[in-house]
Subunit: 628 residues, 2 copies
Amino acid sequence: MPLITFKPSDITIDVPAGTDLLQAARQAGVDIDAPCGGKGTCGKCLVKVVSGNLGTGGGSVLDKDDQPGIVQACTTVVGDGPVVIDVPNSLGYEGGKFAEDVGTHDASSAIAPDPATLLVAVTIPEAGLDAVEPDAERLTKSLLPHIGTKGLIVPLNVLQLLPETLRIESGQITVTLARGESDAVSIVEVKPGEGTSRHFGIAIDIGTTTVAVQLVQLTNAKVLGTITDYNGQIPCGLDVISRINYARRQGGLGELKRRVIETINRLIGLLCINSGVGASELCEAAISGNTTMTHLLLGIVPEYIRLAPYTPTILEPMSFSAGEMGLNMNPHAPVYCSPGVGSYVGGDITAGILCTQLADGSGLTSLFLDIGTNGELVVGNGELLMTCACSAGPAFEGGGIRCGMRAATGAIERVEINAKTGVPRLWTVGNALPRGICGSGMISLVAELYCKGLVDQAGKFDRTGRFASIQVSGRQAQYLLATAEEAQGVVAIAVSETDIDNLIRAKAAIYSACSLMLHQLEMRFEDLEHIYIAGGFGRFLDIEKAIAIGLLPDVAREKFTYIGNSSLNGSRRVLISRQQRKLQQQLARKMTYIDLSNDSGYMDQYTAALFLPHTDLRRFPSVKRLIG
Amino acid sequence: MPLITFKPSDITIDVPAGTDLLQAARQAGVDIDAPCGGKGTCGKCLVKVVSGNLGTGGGSVLDKDDQPGIVQACTTVVGDGPVVIDVPNSLGYEGGKFAEDVGTHDASSAIAPDPATLLVAVTIPEAGLDAVEPDAERLTKSLLPHIGTKGLIVPLNVLQLLPETLRIESGQITVTLARGESDAVSIVEVKPGEGTSRHFGIAIDIGTTTVAVQLVQLTNAKVLGTITDYNGQIPCGLDVISRINYARRQGGLGELKRRVIETINRLIGLLCINSGVGASELCEAAISGNTTMTHLLLGIVPEYIRLAPYTPTILEPMSFSAGEMGLNMNPHAPVYCSPGVGSYVGGDITAGILCTQLADGSGLTSLFLDIGTNGELVVGNGELLMTCACSAGPAFEGGGIRCGMRAATGAIERVEINAKTGVPRLWTVGNALPRGICGSGMISLVAELYCKGLVDQAGKFDRTGRFASIQVSGRQAQYLLATAEEAQGVVAIAVSETDIDNLIRAKAAIYSACSLMLHQLEMRFEDLEHIYIAGGFGRFLDIEKAIAIGLLPDVAREKFTYIGNSSLNGSRRVLISRQQRKLQQQLARKMTYIDLSNDSGYMDQYTAALFLPHTDLRRFPSVKRLIG
């Protein structure tokens, strides 16, 4: 079989002739971004053939004379001989780029550690004339102070090891107890000797796009490490709806479950290696994800989330054993899944609001905003909470934009436009040559285009010809960010009116949802104490520009707080504290879920928001001032 | 590889040359009795070579010119060509011989069925505007009348199937709930449609020698079938001590666990086929066994049962899932293990006494006697209970007797001796040609020998020469039961003074244990209301003869009641009734365990009982009258 070598990672793999390059890369463990799932439609899986000849089966070398060897990986097949492929901007490069930010936005250090699992060092009297009870009974007796009147559950394989474990260090043992949701206490592990300092847990955020895993020392709530990576389900679809559809395929649900478990297990493995902790020492986990991600993680058919009347199988807080879930931890470790509120407001949100004033009972009203493909919103105080979700579409993640991309190396993340010439100045992630434009770049760009007069309130380009960067061709017009030469890329980077329209729809969905909820509470944006912005997207968000396009309301800037990956931070909170877990469950029960699709007022609000920044400019006084 | 055919079952197997016949038979699933475990020492695994040539590796054809082709299976190896082997009295023949007796000795039909599992038919409102809760929540709500304030545990793979199950028959489902030892209720299974009549459970007795499995319809406590077979652990040793020793070998514990699980699963499979019940429909089990058998079943190191201070790992009542135990049932089915009292008084005894007056609180004092390799005794009433175990040795099961065998076809089970000539008349199991003598046969024989004056009180033969059947050779003497010709066997069947001595030791162990316990209670045998005799051995026991040798006390004959396999019957009781389960646990806690090895009085009692029937003949007035 022909050998394929992938550069720059230098991974070589043997595949049968006729295999497409995308599939070969997956087999080799080389990640190539293919948002369309390899259907040949998105044109984003471009790779360069360095040497060797390709097969004739697929044949989709781009018809650019000046870019020889650039092909779409998904439609190009391997021939008979060896090939060397360059994957110049593969996701593989960016594996570590998430880590820097995580965990810096939450004051969870103030929470007293009181996790659901407990390490107890006891000395069991050695069997003898004074201690005639069976091993298990002597063990139970010595644990009584920690069990009280509750039942004690001893898993069979803990029992199997018990007689020998008790006799290794003359009865001195360390027992890991799990105080679960039910009334019983169960044993996770019994180890010989005294070792109560080694007590570790895992906090996990499962996003549709990224998965973040954090290793926490449970004795003192110290974070020992955090790793984030793309969710291994991405090749099966970019958003929750396409994942739900994928789950309907033969074996699809099993594959989705396997993929996300593999992602989590790989990250757990890396954290363990980095910190010198054994996977079997991980005795507890807390996981938060949106409702679809939680269903897929558990292998539950997600179909009914998508179909009216949009009924998920489970929203309540749940605990399963790591063993039954397939997680690379102590098999008896309890894994807590954050409760959800509705089909589109999941455990990531109930975990997220724990990191905000919405959870602290201060009585002040705040807004929690998680902006992504789906926007999730919570407004209220600790007592009254209202939540909804809206579909923003993929624009904020670079989807649905012709030259869009995720916020990876080379993504244009900030644009300034010279008001006179209309020429842009670009900032890219990693200061690399521009490869495309990400969501925050689009916001920055459209705000500049609008404020500098290159587009009107409806998002239509100035067709007077006074800006050379605006290229008009019949009914079509686009704004040129970089030529192919400037970008040293295959094609030029430009943004069309359709792209701008997609962004406007996305921001309108979010703004109008917020607006509607406040309207129902008879409140105005000005009445909010805080506006919390959560999620990976928020990190790159320029508040000023977001207000300029009408995504965020035009209120005092100090009210905005970026709270990072609040789903992960909230997971850590419920991992280290049973009180936080209770609080989360109380909040989840208090939250009123508003189904926007059933709300007649929403469409009005949405339509009014389909302008830059809004039909009603009085809502955006500072923007109004800016454009004069 | 050479083909070996085993007659009469006509099973043919291909094994490498050099394999011994015992191993080949095991691979073929043909049972050959080999009490020594295949070490070549017991000489009981005789088979006949019908055709073909054996290998030269082992070579152990018996040196009997008149018995060509009779070989020991364990020391004879397969040669190059095909062989036909006749296994004339294999255990395979007798697979069904146990069944007839079982379950006929217990009035459990009077117990109202109230098993730990419950089938509930509910209709879950279809998801819609009136029922917006998630599937799991609607399910929980509809089960509330059966759960009350307890927690509900839903296993992950029940949850995984839930969305589809709910939608097959418009929300009509049947839920199997398990009300366990702890405070939570757990779901065993959720099936579409209404099917509360199919509710099945399994009662199991695990004896050192035999395993009995019973299929019970839990709705009405009806027994659908019972099958008994030898415990698959027998090749690893005949008694509990040899099994404990075997467990110390590399992989030994795992093998013992696997073997008994295989036996149980095979019997479950047969019962299911016979009754048209699917293994996945079995949603509950109750198992009783002695302490060692329970440890081995659970895969717990049994070593410390055998070593001072004789501390088992577990005696409390336990529940595990069928899945974690490896049983061929619904994996979430709770499997209840009867509680034990001490290292040598196990769950078989606490199950057994449920079938007697000892459990009914009548206040009358009775004795429960389970006679086997180990004798287990319980004396008392429902309030005060005393128990002990004594090692009788294998004599009652035909072990330690040169021509001894289990009560299988051809075993001499009854002997009458002509008082004048001393010539025996023999009765055998199945009226077959005599192959050996079983425990009840030995009791019958020794009673006859003593009462007819062929042996004295010490068990020594009359050496006057007046009985031709007594063959004296120097210091050795034996009583001839059948010549090799009469038995059409390999060797003659005879009983030596050593054999008689082994039987006397066995009966003395039992009698003196009973005697000691009564002494401690300041009672006499006459004060007992009932003497219950349990276990397979009791079925063949001639009470008159057992009294004649001093195994049983000389009291009014109507006080003796044979109660069959009370361990199995008690298992059925705790399977069908939670009240019986509670009663069993109360009784187990009330039982005072007497360690005979620590009791100075026991040795005196034992020594006094080492005579026929006893040193003190006044204790046995009817025997005294008989021998004049």
